[in-house]
Symmetry: C2
C-alpha cells in the first residue's frame, strides 16, 4: 500500500475527548473514527488489525473443534422474554419494533438464538457434544461508554456455545475452550491473567475471566504474591482467619457518643482503630430483615450477599425502614436482636473480641461487645470487599490488587438457558434432557485496544507483529531525489514480492513527519531510504519495539528487513 493513497489521516494532537492511551492512539493513528458515543467506524488500518485478531481467534476455535456459523444482529424479543433477560437487561438493551409492531433487540449475546437452534438441528445424544461459534458485532447500550473501544456500545465479539449431555461433558468442553483461549491471547501478544469471576447476569456456576493487565482497566482483580491464586475482586475470597486467641473479655459497657453516627467519628471519639469497631448493616429481603456484621474498616460486598439470597433480591435499608423498625440509625448494634432476624457475619468477625458497636440508642455505643456472650451470629460467610494486603485463601500469601481489561470470559452455564427455552435432546435411555451448556466470549475490538494499552510509548503504538496492520514501513526520506525514490520503490517492490506486508511512505511530507507517523502507527520494522544513506550505499533500519537502529547495504535491504522482522516480538 502506498501511504499517499491510504485512507488514513493521522492526527498531530490528542483528541480532547480521549483519556485512555489506546483511545488517544487509535484515534491519532487513524485506526478508528467516532460516529457517536461508544460507536466507531473502523478505518482501513484498524480493520487490518481486527482481521488479524479475527484470523487467530478463528484458527484456534476451529482447531478446538468449534464450528462457525453466523446469527442475526437484530433478533426477536420472545425468547428473551422466556429467559427473563428482556426485563433483566433494562436500559442496556437496544430495543426496536418492526413495521408490524413486533418487539426486537440488538443482541448483546446470543444464548436465546443458538439454544433453540441446536435443539432443532441436533436433537439426539448421538449428535453431542457440539460447539458452535460466530464472530459478529454486538450491542450494549452502556450508560457511560468510555475509553474508546474499551467500553463501547457496539463491539466485535466471538461468542461460542457448547452443548453437552451432562455436566461432566460440559466441564470437558469448557476445558477445551479454556486452553484455546490461552493460545488466542498468547498469539495476540497480550499479557493476561486468568481469574475466577463473578457470574454476573449470564452465569451459572464456574466461570473465568481472561484479563489483560492495563493501568486504565476498569476491572480489578487480586493476585497472590506467590502466584497460586487470582480472582476478580467481586469473587475473591480472603483466607478464613484462625480461631481467636482466648483471653479475658472486657465487660460490655455503654458509653455516650453524641453525634458519632459513623465509624470514623466513633473511632475518633473513643480513640480506637476502625478495625476494633463492628459495623452493623441492615438489609431486607422478601419482607424479612437481615443484619450483616463486618469489622468497621471493611466494606460489605453486596454481590456476595446477593448470591446468598439469589434469586430473591436483597436491598439495603432505606430511611423509612429504620423508622418503621425503630432502629437508631448510626447507632445500631447486634445485641438483643429478635430470633426472626437473620444475623450474618463475615468470617473476620469470628476472630475479633471486645468490639465497639452501636448501643441501639441514638448518641450511644457499647465497648467490650463479644460474640455469643453479648450478641448472636446465625452464620459466618464471606461478606467483605477484598482489599490490598488480604491473605490468599490457598497459601496465606499477601494479595495484591491490579487493574485489567477483560478480553475473554467463559462460563459453565449448565441448564440455565436450556430449561426456560425448553431445549432438550433425547438421551440414550429415551428421556428428554436439557442440554448442559457453556458459553465463551472474546472481545476482538477490546483485544485491539488492550494490546495498545500494553504496548505503547510516548511516540505511539508498538504493535506485536502478529496483529500489526502492516509489518514494515519503507520511508522515502528525501523524496525530491530520484535515487531515493527509485531505491525505495525497488525495496518496497521486493518486500511485496516476498510476501511481506509493507507500506511505502511516498507522501509529499517532510521526513520528520513520516518518521513520526511510522512511530505513531507502530509498524514493527521501519526502513528509511535517504540521501545520506544512498551516498553511503546503505538504508537505515529500526525495530519499533526496542528503538534499536541498524544499517543494511542498499542491495540487501529486503533481506535485512526480513531478518529484523523475524526477530521482532
Amino acid at each position: 500500500m502506498r501511504l499517499s493513497q491510504l485512507f488514513a489521516r493521522t492526527l498531530r494532537e490528542d483528541p480532547a475527548e480521549a483519556e485512555a492511551p489506546s483511545h488517544k492512539l487509535l484515534l491519532r493513528a487513524a485506526f478508528v473514527r467516532k460516529l457517536m458515543a461508544g460507536v466507531y467506524t473502523t478505518m482501513p488500518l484498524g480493520l487490518r488489525t481486527i482481521r488479524k485478531i479475527e484470523a487467530i481467534v478463528r484458527e484456534e476455535m476451529d482447531t478446538a473443534g468449534a464450528q462457525e456459523l453466523r446469527m442475526p444482529i437484530a433478533i426477536p424479543a420472545e425468547p428473551w422474554q422466556q429467559t427473563g433477560r428482556w426485563d433483566a437487561y433494562g436500559d442496556e438493551l437496544f430495543r426496536l419494533r418492526d413495521r408490524h409492531g413486533r418487539d426486537m433487540l440488538l443482541g448483546p449475546t446470543l444464548e436465546e438464538v443458538v439454544t433453540p437452534l441446536v435443539a432443532t438441528e441436533f436433537p439426539s445424544y448421538k449428535d453431542l457434544p457440539v460447539n458452535v461459534y460466530q464472530i459478529e458485532w454486538k450491542y450494549r447500550d452502556e450508560l457511560r461508554p468510555r475509553f474508546g473501544l474499551l467500553r463501547g456500545r457496539e463491539f466485535y465479539m466471538k461468542d461460542a456455545y457448547s452443548f453437552d449431555r451432562d455436566a461432566a461433558g460440559m466441564a470437558e468442553s469448557y476445558q477445551v475452550m479454556y486452553d484455546a483461549y490461552l493460545r488466542v491471547f498468547d498469539r495476540c501478544g497480550l499479557d493476561c491473567v486468568i481469574v475466577e469471576a463473578d457470574p454476573g447476569t449470564i452465569g451459572g456456576g464456574i466461570n473465568h475471566e481472561f484479563m489483560a493487565l492495563a493501568d486504565v482497566g476498569e476491572d480489578l482483580f487480586v493476585r497472590c504474591e506467590n502466584g497460586d491464586y487470582s480472582a476478580d475482586t467481586e469473587a475473591a475470597t480472603p483466607k478464613i482467619p484462625e480461631a481467636p486467641a482466648s483471653g479475658e473479655a472486657a465487660p460490655l459497657t455503654e458509653v455516650e457518643t453524641p453525634g458519632a453516627a459513623t465509624i470514623d467519628l466513633v473511632a475518633t471519639a473513643l480513640n480506637v482503630s476502625a478495625s476494633q469497631t463492628l459495623k452493623t448493616m441492615l438489609f431486607k429481603s422478601g419482607g424479612e430483615t437481615v443484619v450483616v456484621l463486618v469489622p468497621g474498616d471493611r466494606e460489605v460486598n453486596e454481590r456476595k450477599l446477593s448470591r446468598l439470597y439469589f434469586p430473591a433480591p436483597i436491598e439495603r435499608f432505606e430511611e423509612a425502614d429504620f423508622t418503621a423498625g425503630g432502629y437508631a440509625k448510626g447507632y445500631v448494634g447486634p445485641q438483643g436482636l429478635p430470633e426472626a432476624i437473620t444475623v450474618l457475619a463475615d468470617h473476620s468477625v469470628r476472630v475479633g473480641t471486645d468490639w465497639v458497636t452501636g448501643a441501639n440508642r441514638t448518641d450511644a455505643h457499647v465497648t467490650g461487645a463479644n460474640v455469643d456472650r453479648d450478641f448472636r451470629v446465625d452464620r459466618y460467610e464471606d461478606l467483605v470487599e477484598i482489599r490490598e494486603g488480604d491473605r490468599c485463601p490457598i497459601d496465606g500469601g499477601e494479595l495484591h490488587i491490579g487493574r485489567s481489561i477483560v478480553v475473554g470470559h467463559i462460563f459453565q452455564l449448565g441448564t440455565k438457558y436450556s430449561e426456560p427455552l425448553a431445549s432438550t435432546f433425547l438421551d440414550e435411555d429415551g428421556t428428554a434432557k436439557h442440554y448442559e451448556m457453556g458459553c465463551y466470549g472474546i472481545g476482538l475490538t477490546r483485544i485491539m485496544a488492550a494490546a495498545v494499552e500494553q504496548r505503547h510509548d510516548e511516540h505511539g503504538i508498538v504493535w506485536p507483529k502478529a496483529i500489526a496492520p502492516f509489518q514494515v514501513a519503507v520511508v522515502m526520506a528525501n523524496q525530491d531525489i530520484p535515487e531515493v525514490t527509485s531505491h525505495a520503490e525497488r525495496i518496497y517492490a521486493e518486500l511485496i514480492a516476498q510476501g511481506v506486508e509493507a507500506v511505502l511512505d511516498d507522501r509529499d511530507e517532510r521526513a520528520g513527519a513520516k518518521f513520526a507517523d511510522a512511530d505513531l502507527i507502530g509498524y514493527p520494522v521501519q526502513v528509511t531510504v535517504g540521501k545520506r544513506g544512498i551516498e553511503a550505499g546503505t538504508v537505515d533500519l529500526k525495530l519499533r519495539a526496542t528503538g534499536e537502529r541498524t544499517t543494511a547495504p542498499l542491495g540487501g535491504a529486503a533481506e535485512a528487513v526480513r531478518a529484523l522482522l523475524a526477530s521482532a516480538p
Copy 2:
C-alpha cells in the same frame, strides 16, 4: 470436515413456507435457518459459501483500488434527516432510540455515514479520487419479505463509495467499478445481464443494474433480440414511432355506450380493438391537473411520469377529484380541455388516428377523434410500461422481457449527498466544492441465492466450484466394512493434505441417504468408496454438474479427483 460432526442436518421434505427453488434448497441443504420473517441464521455450510463470495468481492474491490473499512450497523438519525431519507424511507427503515432518547436506525445503505467521514479525512483535491468500501450486514424492513435470501430484511452487502473532484472523475471511477463488477459476477459463476436502471430512492443520474437471470426473479428487464439494448422495465424506452401515414380522417361522432366505463367494455361495445381506443388518465400535482394519454392497450408507467415532475409528487385522481372537477369518470376524453390543464401523450399517440375515447358525458364515447383537430397535446413523452414485442430504441429489433434478480447496482450520484450533508473539499483554485460521488452495491446473500436459482436440478444444488462450500465429498458407502472405511479415510486424508476442501461422509446412514445429501448439498465432485469398488480395486467418481460417472483406481483416487475437479465448472 467429517459429516458426522458437521452442524448441518439436511431436510428430506421441502419446507412448507418456501416457494423459490433457492429458498427450498438452501433450507433443505442446511445452508440457512429462519429466525424470523426475512431474517436467517447462516449455518456452517452457508457461511463457507458466503465467505468465498466475500473473498472474490474483496479481491476485485482491492484490485480496483477501493479500500476496505467498516461502518457501524446502528447509526444516528441526524444525517438521514439532513438528506431527507429519514422521512423518505418510511416504514422500510428499522428505527430505534438509545437510552438517552436519541433517534437511530439500522443502515440499509451508508451514504450518510461515509460522506462526512471522507470530508473530514480527505478534505483536499490532492487526496482525490478515493473509493472506500465495506462488506457488512444491512437492514430493510420489507413489507413482504419473501423467497428466503432473495428478499430478506437482513442482508449481507458490499457497499462502495467513490469521491471525485468532478463529474469526469466520477465517470472514470464508475467505469472502474463497472468493470470490477463484471469480474465479480463472472467469477461467482452467475449468468448476468447489465441494464440501465431506474435510480429509485438513491440516485442520481446514470446507473446500472447487474441482473442474474432467474425464473423467480422479481425484477423484470427487457433485452433487444439483437443484443444491443437492455434495460430494466422501469427505465426501458421503446423506439419512438415514425410519423403516421397521412390519410382521410373520419369525422368526430358521439355514440351512446351505456355502462362501458372501461377500455375492454367500450372496445367490445363498439367492436374495435383496445389499441384503437385512447385512454385518458387524470393526475394532480401541486394543485394542478395533468392529463395523460396512452393507447387503450397500454399502461401508464407512473415512475416515468413521476420523474417528469420530480421532486414534486404526482398522484392519480381520486373519486373526490372527479366529482370536484365535474369529470365523468370512465368517460373522460381530451376534447375541449382548458388551457390550464397540461395534456401529456405518449409518443405512440402521435401515430394513431380516428381514436375512440370518452365523450365527457356518462354512458357516451366519441369515435374519429384526431390529434390537433379534436384535441390538444401539449407534449409528447415516453410514458408507457414497456411490453414484450416493443421495438428496441437502438435498432428497432424486438424487445423481450425476462425475469431476474438484481445482484449489483451502481450509481453516479453526483452531489446528491455531498450537498445536503455540506461535504466539501478544497479544490486547487482554493474554492470549496462538493464531492462528485458514486455508490456501488453487491448483495452477497443474494449472489448465494441467485447462484442456486441458476444452478440446481431436481436432486439439489449444483454449486459452481468457486463458491461451493466444499469441493469434494468422500462417501463411505458400506461403512460396516473395514476396508471401505480405511480406504475412504486414506483418500480423504490425501485430499486434505493436498489442499482440497473435502468432507468425509462418515455418518451412520445408509448409502442412499449419503448420495442424496451429496447431490442436495451440491459438492462439485463426489467420490464413493464402496464394497464393489474395493473388490474391483476402484472408486466411483461423479461430476455433479453433468452427472457424469467414472471410476479411478483405489490407489490413484486423490489424483483422479483433483483432475476431475479441475474440469468442473
